[in-house]
């Protein structure tokens, strides 16, 4: 790694990187580069695995917490889907589902899957793991804040799970927690569960604010020498833009969470119409965050898919800058669409027209982004490895999620579809590709880097096809049920004579869910088996360009102990004409290229 050493030695000379040395740290660059990480050889179990400040370990902590929470969320969906398919019967492995428990299960399934699965796995786990590695840095700029962020996140997860075991049981007022139901124990009958829920959500926001500030500043300031704006891998752009969107949108909801908490505990009436409050205010605060939140989790998944597609199509990303501009456009417009969740919620009907227009406008950059991804395949040399299958499946499934959103954004059609299973199927066709398919694309792609072993391809493909087919079998029937007028969060449809007859489809969807959950065992087995006896991966098993592939697998503490790499070109220079290799790592100096 002579190249990398040269690069690292240059750090001190670089005018940009040399700036503010006196302010930022008391050690000089040279001694730092040479001895920075040698003091860390001996670490106890606690300081290595639990109280680590190493970005890779924090990423693992986030990822495994996310996986555990995903299993809990999946188990919840199993329990309530069984209740819908076989109402009133005891669910194997759960028992009888009471009405209150049913509501608590659907509420916390949603909450967990978005705040404790999609966010930690996509933003925090991949963000923490990839940002320093992809920009050629040895860690985040605030390692201890990073650790604090995970610790707060962990506490928030514990508080949420604890909410199920307090007197009264878990909160059952839907993940949107509309007051007055959520604000008043007399109505929701879960005095402690509701409070635990709001405290857990607020803590989670704080954790991601801290993490987000770290991500943004790290990407802005700690890039490898030579890495310009358009040399940043797309996945990092997307994670960081997602963090900015989160930061800009969550504030009002944090204020709202404080108000809701005080309504619950102190007895104020911010959202209580009997005391001058306004229940609709919460909906605005919630959705002002809630809609950008969709893009907060979507963007990291899109970014992962971009990197995977380029690697396995051996292609440059189709019009990098245009993709970036569509991301900016999406991010900005996403702040002006929130009320499309509230068309029939009692807002001024004239406002619905404005939000119909903005909602359909946001379809333009998102569709364009998908077109650009599809166009990236043009002229490629496509290799259908497991990560590539997941990435392609993301595009195929998210397309359905995207186009069904148009029905709901069109105010007139939403009068009928609002709060039906059509909405439910629509957002599962967005969130499932995002949180689950996006995660699998990322983990199967970066597993060799994370753990130094290759995953088993055959098991990976079995897992892929089982999951994808079962997923579609769950949710396509739910679109039909939604179109037939079946509304959400209902304990037992036998209470509604017009809907009782559609039971076969509910049973089918539930069976498909069980099949899909069963296929996740294949993944867990593959994960553990590959960890134990997978083939050694080497530094760059996929022949990819980005900087993380120049580090050892798994990267040691400090990532590049022999010196940090430099960057000389964009991340997607695959199949460049005139070069022998069909890839061109970002850290390879230009003079190594054959002169043509």
């Amino acid at each position: 790694m002579d190249v990398a050493k040269q690069g690292a030695a240059r750090v001190g000379d670089d005018p940009l990187n040399g700036i503010d040395m006196a302010e930022a740290g008391s050690v000089t660059v040279d001694t730092h580069e040479a001895h920075g990480h040698e003091a860390h050889h001996e670490q106890s179990f606690w300081s290595k695995y639990v109280f680590s400040t190493d970005h890779k370990m924090i990423a693992m902590q986030y990822m495994f917490t996310g996986i555990v929470m995903a299993l809990i969320g999946g188990y919840m969906s199993y329990a309530f889907r069984m209740q819908l398919a076989f109402p009133g019967e005891s669910v194997p492995g759960y028992g009888l589902v009471s009405q209150g428990e049913y509501n608590a299960l659907v509420t916390n399934h949603g909450t967990i899957m978005i705040f404790w699965v999609a966010m930690p796995m996509l933003i925090a786990a991949f963000g923490n793991f990839l940002i320093p590695l992809m920009i050629g840095a040895d860690d985040m700029v605030f390692p201890r804040i990073n650790r604090l962020s995970y610790q707060i996140f962990f506490i928030s997860a514990v508080v949420l799970i604890a909410s199920f075991f307090v007197p009264g049981g878990g909160f059952g007022g839907a993940w949107t927690a509309y007051p007055p139901l959520s604000a008043n124990a007399q109505y929701n009958l879960t005095p402690l569960g509701a409070t635990f829920w709001i405290v857990a959500v607020a803590l989670e926001f704080v954790a991601f604010l801290l993490g987000g500030i770290n991500f943004i500043t790290t990407l802005m300031n700690s890039r490898a020498p030579g890495m310009k704006m358009y040399d940043i891998p797309m996945v990092l752009w997307m994670i960081v833009i997602a963090s900015i969107l989160f930061m800009a949108s969550v504030g009002p909801l944090i204020a709202g969470a404080v108000m809701l908490f005080m309504d619950q505990v102190i007895g104020t009436g911010f959202f209580d119409p009997n005391r001058g409050g306004d229940p609709i205010l919460w909906q605005h605060l919630f959705w002002f965050f809630g809609h950008p939140e969709v893009y907060v989790v979507l963007l990291p998944a899109m970014g992962i898919v971009a990197d995977v597609i380029c690697t396995f199509a051996r292609k440059k990303l189709f019009n990098y800058k245009l993709i970036l501009f569509t991301v900016f456009a999406t991010g900005i417009i996403s702040f002006f669409v929130w009320a499309h969740h509230q068309f029939v919620a009692g807002i001024d009907p004239r406002m619905a027209n404005v939000f119909t227009v903005t909602t359909l406008i946001i379809s333009i950059p998102i569709a364009e982004m998908l077109f650009l991804y599809i166009a990236t395949l043009y002229g490629g040399s496509i290799q259908l490895t497991t990560p590539m299958l997941w990435a392609l499946a993301f595009i195929a499934e998210f397309l359905i999620g995207g186009v069904t959103g148009i029905f709901l954004g069109a105010s007139g059609a939403d009068i009928y579809f609002h709060d039906t299973y059509f909405v439910l199927a629509h957002f599962h066709y967005t969130f499932f590709p995002i949180a689950i398919i996006g995660f699998y694309a990322g983990i199967t792609y970066w597993f060799p880097k994370m753990f130094g072993k290759m995953m088993n391809e055959a098991l990976g493909k079995i897992h892929f096809w089982g999951t994808i087919i079962a997923f579609n079998c769950i949710f396509i029937p739910l679109f039909i049920l939604g179109a037939a007028g079946q509304h959400r969060r209902i304990y037992n449809f036998q209470n509604f004579p017009d809907l009782a007859g559609l039971q076969d489809m509910r049973v089918f969807a539930t069976m498909a869910l069980i099949v899909m959950l069963a296929f996740q065992v294949v993944f867990l087995v593959n994960f553990v088996m590959s960890l134990i006896k997978g083939k050694p991966a080497g530094k760059n098993p996929w022949k990819a360009n980005t900087l993380e592939w120049t580090a050892e697998s798994p990267p040691p503490h400090g990532n590049w102990p022999e010196g940090l790499p430099n960057c000389y070109r964009g991340p997607y220079e695959y199949s460049v004409p005139g070069r022998e290799e069909d890839y061109w790592p970002q850290n390879a100096p230009p003079d190594t290229a054959p002169a043509e």
Partner: protein, 191 residues
């Protein structure tokens, strides 16, 4: 931590990392207070009767606190000035002075709230008072947190360490000050 990661020493934007982060913190705080104050303003516009409730606040207390906070911001500026010239001891002194301003602010607030609560204007009294206590309380918590951080930084600065942090806490303190500049007219003056 024996050594810092190299990542912390880089500055691709030319802005020191700490300063960049503080500005992002301020940005995220602006939306938190923005959400709360926007909710308050919406309610005020929808409830003309709240003007009557607001008339029971005492602008003298608010005015004194505005003066105290502005003065403490000046002290934070002087601390930054001293730190820029490498005079850690002097910077620490001005920081402690700023803290003292924060302390006076909290004490005035305590007296003010005690009087108000004794008159029956509690947080659950009505819509206006719940916003009054929530917004001012959230702000007061920022004042307290700022004071604690400032004392830690002053302790370092006294020994000549981490002088760049004097500016960072200054930025934060000015922000807390500006929030009060918005709160004061909205809660005390608008009647």
């Amino acid at each position: 931590m024996s050594t810092r990661p190299i990542a912390t020493t880089r500055s691709a934007t030319g802005i020191p990392t700490g300063k960049l982060a503080v500005w992002w913190v301020v940005g995220s705080e602006i939306v938190i207070f923005g959400g709360l104050l926007a909710s308050y303003v919406m309610h005020r516009l929808g409830h003309p009767e709240w003007a009557e409730y607001a008339s029971h606040t005492n602008p003298w207390f608010g005015g004194i606190n505005t003066f105290v906070l502005l003065t403490s911001s000046l002290s934070a500026v002087l601390a930054h000035h001293a730190a820029e010239h490498g005079d850690g001891k002097k910077a620490a002194k001005w920081l402690v002075g700023t803290c003292f301003g924060g302390l006076i602010f909290i004490c005035v607030k305590a007296v003010e709230w005690t009087i108000e609560i004794q008159h029956g204007y509690t947080i659950t009294a009505n819509g206006f008072w719940q916003f009054y206590y929530t917004a001012a309380g959230l702000h007061a918590m920022h004042v307290i947190a700022g004071c604690v951080i400032m004392l830690i930084i002053a302790n370092d600065a006294r020994k000549g360490l981490e002088l760049h942090r004097v500016e960072l806490i200054g930025i934060y303190w000015h922000f807390v000050d500006i929030v009060w500049i918005f709160l004061f007219p909205l809660l005390y003056i608008a009647k």
